[in-house]
């Protein structure tokens, strides 16, 4: 019942995938075969198969190739079952039931059981879990098995729970006595890991007994980590790889001009922010925050930092591609006079503050901060850019300095994004913002199954963050990927993340 409900509002988003930039001819029927070589900027020697510690896009792509989750975000942004054949919630959205697909085989020949699912979820919620998704996992009060069904009872209602569980950390691994075994990277996914050198490469072979039809088209895949952007671009330009991600906005046009290469853009939820700690002076004053929001030239930043490959942000984390995006909200724009006005309201003649940034936050963060500083000067605001070392930025600077640059890759749902970063007491509440009304509707929206009411709630939340919140979100950045003509993409691709929701390995094929 819920599934049909959800579909109605998600469909609107499908057109937002930027697949339309591609030539028509690319949308041929998928064909099986070939060897794909892809170079990704992410991936490090410290990566491992341990689902608690997955952290980057490389591991996401790898995980989606070798493992399945209970649910999957489809290219059209709808949620559909993956290893869960069906799933449903009770009326209060606090009990969720997942019917586990039968006859699904792991790479090692073991058949998938509900016990595997329980063990895989439990791995993240046990005491002393080090998991990155511990907070999501802990929202589950109880897991039980009911025949082919796995039943999860939540502490609080959450209409988006099925979305949360689609997170790649919740990969389903084979288990024994309630303990999962992830050491060899064995899953139920479309590809078997032949070899994996952390920070270097993964070699995949197609899994002959993959359960999912019309999926996993390549025979073999070589997924490389190529951290050096120049090397990635050279590799795609010379045809040494078929896919290279994280193309710099500034070089994108040149990459596109190379023969046999085309760009693949995704306007997703990835956004940059300058997070003010609202408990510290001068950011305690809402007018100061507003003054700073009007003192940034967002168009210039998109142009210069993103090379035009992105869009302006409106000081909240919800992308325009989201079904809950509040289009009616006033767009904050560069207006020195209004900035001055809010300064006066705050009883100040000028503001002098420090903005901490490092390129570890996002590429060009220091330059973005410098641009910010220059545009703010016209409004009489003196922003000193404090350049910080990349190493240790997240630990020492972010959330420790009153105002610092930050980066969010986005979350699949508005709820997840808000809960993670804006709810009071949320682990990553980078602005230390604490708004009762916001917290109240955030929780209410989770349990609200009426779409219209829900949308209104999310619109209000965006407005609250927009008007009162401590984050300046100047821009949403596109993901840019270089593709060689050897690679074909489907007509509709996901825009919740880079590279077709990072499920390109099972959704794309050789041309």
């Amino acid at each position: 019942m819920l599934r049909t409900n959800r579909r109605t509002f998600i469909q609107g988003a499908t057109a937002l995938g930027l697949a339309s930039t591609l030539p028509r001819a690319a949308f041929a029927q998928p064909t099986r075969g070939g060897r794909l070589r892809a170079a990704m900027g992410h991936g490090s020697t410290s990566d491992s198969f341990d689902p608690a510690l997955y952290s980057n896009f490389y591991m996401r792509a790898q995980t989606f190739a070798r493992n399945n989750m209970l649910t999957e975000i489809a290219p059209d942004q709808t949620l559909r079952g993956e290893l869960a054949e069906r799933f449903e919630a009770n009326a209060t959205a606090d009990v969720w039931r997942f019917k586990i697909r039968e006859g699904v085989e792991f790479h090692n020949g073991k058949t998938l059981t509900p016990e595997d699912v329980v063990a895989s979820i439990d791995y993240h919620r046990v005491d002393g879990s080090k998991s990155a998704v511990k907070s999501s996992a802990e929202s589950i009060a109880e897991i039980s098995i009911d025949g082919p069904w796995v039943v999860m009872t939540l502490h609080e209602p959450n209409a988006d729970f099925a979305y949360l569980i689609s997170d790649f950390h919740f990969s389903i691994f084979p288990s024994e006595n309630g303990k999962i075994d992830f050491s060899e990277g064995v899953g139920t996914g479309g590809y078997v890991v032949e070899s994996y050198e952390p920070g270097v490469r993964t070699e995949f072979k197609r899994f002959a007994n993959y359960w999912k039809p019309d999926s996993a088209y390549f025979d073999e895949i070589e997924l490389l980590t190529v951290a050096d952007k120049t090397a990635r671009i050279t590799a795609i330009a010379t045809g040494q790889v078929d896919i290279a991600d994280r193309i710099d906005a500034t070089t994108a046009s040149r990459v596109e001009s190379a023969s046999g290469v085309r760009l693949f853009r995704t306007s997703g939820p990835q956004h940059f922010s300058f997070a003010m700690n609202v408990t510290q002076d001068p950011f305690t004053d809402r007018n100061v925050r507003l003054a700073l929001k009007y003192a940034v030239n967002r168009e210039e930043m998109v142009e210069k930092i993103l090379g035009g490959y992105g869009s302006v942000g409106n000081d909240h984390p919800i992308p325009s591609s989201s079904p809950y995006f509040n289009a009616d909200l006033e767009q904050h724009s560069y207006d020195p006079d209004r900035a001055r006005f809010h300064m006066k309201e705050a009883g100040l003649d000028s503001i002098s503050t420090e903005l901490h940034a490092a390129d570890a936050a996002f590429t060009g963060a220091v330059d973005a901060a410098t641009l910010y500083s220059e545009s703010a000067r016209a409004a009489g605001i003196d922003i000193k850019v404090a350049r910080e070392p990349n190493d240790g930025y997240w630990k020492n600077i972010w959330r420790n300095k009153p105002w610092a640059a930050s980066f969010w890759s986005g979350r699949p749902t508005a709820d997840a994004m808000f809960s993670l970063t804006y709810a009071s007491g949320a682990p990553w509440n980078e602005t230390a913002w604490n708004n009762e009304r916001f917290d109240k509707i955030l929780i209410a929206a989770r349990g609200e199954l009426d779409e219209g009411k829900r949308r209104e709630m999310y619109h209000e939340m965006q407005k609250l963050v927009h008007d009162d919140g401590g984050a300046v979100v100047p821009m949403f950045a596109d993901y840019i990927v270089g593709l060689r003509d050897t690679v074909a993409t489907p007509e509709v691709t996901g825009n919740n993340l880079d590279l077709d929701g990072l499920r390109f390995l099972e959704r794309w094929w050789m041309a």
């Binding site: 410290s46 491992s48 952290s55 080090k130 190529v226 050279t234 010379t238 190493d391």
Partner: protein
């Protein structure tokens, strides 16, 4: 031969002591680094809770000295431990990378050492000729250029313009030897250009230095022609410094090639070490540093032994 054995024993002992100091220094240097493995791995997604959990799992909550002690005991029993960040055995993790590093170093050495020796000999033979000046200027130039410059120029020339060699050298253990060689040519060539100058100039200088000695004049007065003078009379006496400089450069080929690894995306030990430092992966950093230091120590020892063996004055003390 006795003095040589004594020297080897002495130097090995000293080398072990150095290694111990290195391991000690590395351990506490990593301790001094801001942040630990737990924080490094969890990165932006770290919460105090999960960091604490991970720390406990990795035993990072134990006192540093105890951890160092345990590590040391384990290493002495041949167990290099497991990587903190991905839980793989360090020996396995480093093994592949070390193999790659050695392969690249070996290939670069195979090209550069004979080349440097030949050029050095010829330059000494035809000293002050046009050839000598030319080779001198060329090697000075190549020694003066940053590695990444040479690397990018070679990529531009051979991979982009000519399109005959791959720009990226992401070799894998499953590759066959011919493929490996093709993939490694460009980085090996880059390294060759970097080290050949040093070795060649040293070869030439060592030879030329001896040319003014009385026994060289004697060889000429006995009727030896220039080639014979250089090859038979001078070279045996110049071996010491030449071998030393070769050893130094071989050590460099193993230990100093991070930049080349970055430019060519070559999965070598240097990159692993740099990555491990940033993820504070102590066991990996430790073992990598020890490997580098041992390479340096062993190569220098070999050079010294060869220098002694080649010099009868040191070999047969009376």
């Amino acid at each position: 031969m006795n003095p040589i054995l004594i020297l080897i024993a002495k130097r090995l002992g000293l080398g072990l002591l150095t290694l111990w100091f290195v391991s000690f220094g590395v351990f506490f240097a990593i301790e001094a680094l801001p942040g630990d493995t737990a924080e490094a791995i969890l990165g932006q997604s770290a919460t105090p809770e999960t960091v604490a959990a991970l720390r406990k799992e990795l035993h990072l909550n134990q006192p540093a000295l105890l951890r160092y002690w345990n590590w040391q005991i384990a290493v002495l029993t041949g167990d290099f431990g497991t990587s903190l960040s991905n839980g793989r055995p360090v020996s396995e993790l480093i093994g592949t990378r070390l193999g790659n590093t050695m392969f690249l170093a070996g290939m670069a050495a195979l090209i550069s050492v004979p080349l440097a020796l030949c050029l050095g000999l010829l330059a000494a033979l035809w000293r002050n000729s046009l050839f000598d000046r030319l080779i001198n200027a060329v090697t000075l130039t190549s020694i003066s250029m940053p590695e990444f410059f040479i690397g990018y120029v070679l990529i531009f020339a051979f991979a982009i313009r000519a399109g005959i060699l791959p720009p990226m050298s992401a070799i894998s253990p499953t590759m066959g030897l011919p493929d490996r060689i093709v993939f490694t040519i460009l980085p090996a060539l880059t390294l060759t250009l970097v080290v050949v100058a040093h070795m060649m100039r040293m070869t030439r200088a060592s030879l030329v230095n001896l040319l003014s000695l009385p026994y060289v004049e004697m060889a000429r007065l006995k009727g030896a022609r220039e080639m014979r003078v250089i090859l038979f009379h001078v070279l045996p006496n110049a071996l010491g410094p030449i071998v030393t400089v070769i050893a130094l450069n071989l050590a460099y080929l193993i230990t100093g090639v991070v930049v080349v690894e970055v430019v060519f995306v070559y999965p070598g030990l240097g990159q692993l070490l740099v990555d491990s430092v940033s993820s504070r992966d102590l066991p990996v950093v430790q073992v990598s540093c020890m490997i580098f230091a041992s390479a340096y120590i062993l190569l220098n020892l070999t050079a010294d032994v060869i220098a002694i063996v080649s010099d009868p004055r040191q070999l047969h003390r009376t």
